[in-house]
Symmetry: C2
Subunit: 463 residues, 2 copies
């Protein structure tokens, strides 16, 4: 008999009513009295369990009442609709086979566990309700990202993670090597001899695919990256991981406004797609993780994002009368407290803040006419703060070279990046969206360690 997936039973219940089916899955709970029993099974294809009713007409009745949680079973039986009860149907078993046994010390018994404890069993936590929901949503949100861009004709650019340049400038990097660290080879000056390393020179793990993605945007017009990114920053917070996933679109012939339009569409699209395609999981988050979740997501999905300049934002903050931990002055980098005040108290919806002072932004951002600011914009959302950062890129060769000089960087490190302009000074814009940031926003999970299957953070690379 062919296996039926539990997802099909839930999505097309009527079709299966009173029919015989065979399912397989893992035991979540067992209850029994003398002559009958109930087993809840989860088969991995659906958030909800399915209830199996069985009785002592089964020859292995006694054995089945004793199966350990997380054993795998196959069950043949009849689908019986149960209107009015907690689950819309159950399966009356005529045959149950123990496919694979588990052990009575299975750590995920029915009682609730702390998220901290579950991190110590990251190999088993996807079997819990919370992490089953988190990681299915992660998968669905990832597909939403691809679908959004592919339907718009964007080319997916797989930029390299191993980088030979340490001039990306966005943070501290992990060194990559095949040298024997017990006995590092040195050159005649007593320095590390990288010519003996795998690539014949120093290499690191990338902190951003942006510079590479620009090479593709200037060929394909609209492109995006979506993959792992690394920061060797010693920040042990709930929002930082050493390995995380980034989405970095780049668009030729696009100005700052165009980037903001696309970023706004993307954020709304992901939220709507997840709400539509993971309704049970999202219901769970709204009920058990963050009771205001649906309201918050509706607000984002259905409002027009605000747009104000950095200068206006500073003005609003200074006039607010609110006492901030970090005082506000034109020229400072906005802190999370400022960002949250703007988006939560003032605008009560997501806003883009545009045109930041050039001195607090990266060398590749396009200089504005005023000589003081650059065409950059960050998207701030209620409850989190910054979720997207982006800019129009400086496409004018002479101005970019001057800026590289001013910042004390070396032009020869950027030879190919500069050649992109030498051979076509095409305006273009792009942005970065931290995938885990938006997952935390969508699920209500408050620690980045709980939206990454096996998180890597300062001092921790378990599993």
């Amino acid at each position: 008999m062919k296996l039926t997936l539990v997802k099909s039973l839930y999505r097309e219940t009527e079709k299966f009513a009173n029919k015989s089916v065979k399912i397989s899955g893992w035991v979540r709970t067992v209850r029994d009295s003398k002559s009958f029993g109930f087993i809840e099974i989860n088969d991995g294809t659906f958030f909800k369990n399915i209830q199996i009713v069985f009785d002592d007409s089964l020859e292995n009745f006694k054995d089945i009442t004793k199966v350990a949680i997380s054993s795998s079973l196959s069950v043949e039986g009849t689908v019986v609709l149960t209107p009015g009860s907690k689950q819309p149907f159950e399966i009356k078993a005529i045959k149950i086979v123990l496919e694979g046994k588990s052990s009575s010390d299975y750590p995920l018994q029915k009682k609730r566990h702390s998220l901290e404890y579950l991190r110590t069993i990251a190999h088993l936590r996807p079997r819990s309700n919370t992490f089953s929901a988190v990681f299915r949503v992660r998968s669905i949100a990832a597909f939403a990202v691809h679908k959004f861009f592919q339907e718009k004709g964007f080319v997916y650019a797989n930029t390299p993670l191993i980088t030979g340049s340490d001039c990306e400038g966005a943070g501290e990097m992990f060194r990559l090597t095949t040298l024997d660290l017990e006995n590092v080879p040195k050159d005649e000056n007593g320095k590390v001899d990288y010519s003996k390393d795998f690539f014949g020179k120093e290499t690191n793990l990338t902190v951003s695919g942006q510079l590479s993605a620009e090479t593709f945007a200037l060929a394909f017009r609209n492109v995006y990256t979506f993959g792992p990114t690394f920061r060797a920053e010693n920040s042990n917070t709930a929002r930082h991981a050493a390995e995380f996933w980034m989405i970095e679109p780049e668009m030729a012939f696009a100005e700052l406004k165009d980037y903001m339009d696309i970023a706004e569409d993307l954020v709304k699209y992901i939220i709507k797609y997840v709400l539509e395609n993971a309704p049970e999981e999202m219901e769970f988050f709204n009920s058990f993780i963050d009771k205001g979740l649906f309201d918050r997501l509706d607000n984002v999905a259905n409002s027009d994002f605000g747009r104000i300049s950095y200068t206006e934002a500073v003005d609003i903050l200074k006039k607010s009368g609110h006492e901030f931990q970090y005082p506000v002055e034109w020229g400072i980098d906005l802190q999370t407290e400022h960002e949250r005040y703007l988006t939560e108290k003032v605008f009560k919806k997501p806003i883009f803040v545009t045109d930041y002072p050039k001195d607090i932004k990266a060398f590749y951002m396009r200089a504005n006419e005023d000589g003081k600011t650059v065409a950059a914009a960050d998207l701030l959302v209620p409850g989190v703060g910054e979720i997207v950062g982006g800019s129009q890129r400086e496409e004018r060769l002479a101005i970019l070279e001057k800026r590289i000089d001013e910042m004390g960087l070396k032009k020869e490190d950027y030879w190919w990046y500069l050649e992109l302009r030498k051979y076509g000074e095409t305006k273009h814009s792009g942005f970065g969206l931290g995938f885990e940031r938006i997952l935390m926003y969508i699920t209500g999970m408050t620690n980045i360690r709980d939206v990454i299957p096996f998180p890597r953070t300062t001092g921790s690379a378990e599993f």
Copy 2:
């Protein structure tokens, strides 16, 4: 006036006939005579260029005749159908604006360049016909992979690239560190003091997401990974890169046969999806890269893949009378020459070879009843050889432990992998498909360096 994308002009030509449009793009060629000229522009959204006709009624006629290749232009004009000529339509310009200038020494002039030369300008090669086709196909094929699995309800598992275990056993690894290599800290025994490293211990870049993916399969049933993978192998061949992308599905309640069914469907799906969604690019490959391409792909997409056991395969090879460089005996690992002989000369279509001797396969593959072989299968395709490798995984705790002992591995290194079985001995299977391998197969490109945007190979990590 709103910009129109060249892809729309080609896909819905009739709709635009005799209409005014504005497009932007990069100059590929310019020809002119005294009073009129032709410019071919590519706007990045479509493989083909669009021809612009202009004349000296434009006030900047002289300047436009002199623009350097790869300059960016915007053009307003009328779409004129040109039935019978090489391109189905052209644009009669009424206004041309030079958006961004290029330089006369632009390296991608119209003449043909060698693939080797183009690798030295990897930042510009996506602007050439060949690499525009390769990387658009790469993007479309990547989406096909996601679409295939998501439509079947598979969960996308983002397994970690940084690994604290060096027991994946599939190849040499890159060490990851933030220690100062000029001055490596040592412990009291004179060994490297990894407690001072970022993660407080030795870490490497993963060679496979399989073991982590199994944790997800035993929760979600059907899962897949799709992301970068690393090998620090010193093999300077046309088929090996240090950084490449892998697709690694894992399926619970699935046997070897089920893996073969899914892998066959996947390969056919990707081929068909690319043929449908990149017809111009595929036409180009078939005409200029590999004249037998369409025949070969049709054969794969429309034949039922063969399935024979390793033992049968060895038998066929021994009886073939063919003289191989490596002699064939039961127990040897099949070489590419053997694989290609089987799939090209004997079967003339893709075949799975199953049930390999256990001694040439990994510890996690499921032992067959015969005590000599394991439930593994490789997919061989004409023209390439092995393209997919997979197996049923050993789910029986006691047998897996014994196998780990036999192979001289340490059980404590695999504690969580063993616990997956302790808490549910569920049968499951999985496989790995090298993304670049199938891209080479689909495009006819013969060097892996030419299907990766910025390839990383022994001694080379440029850009």
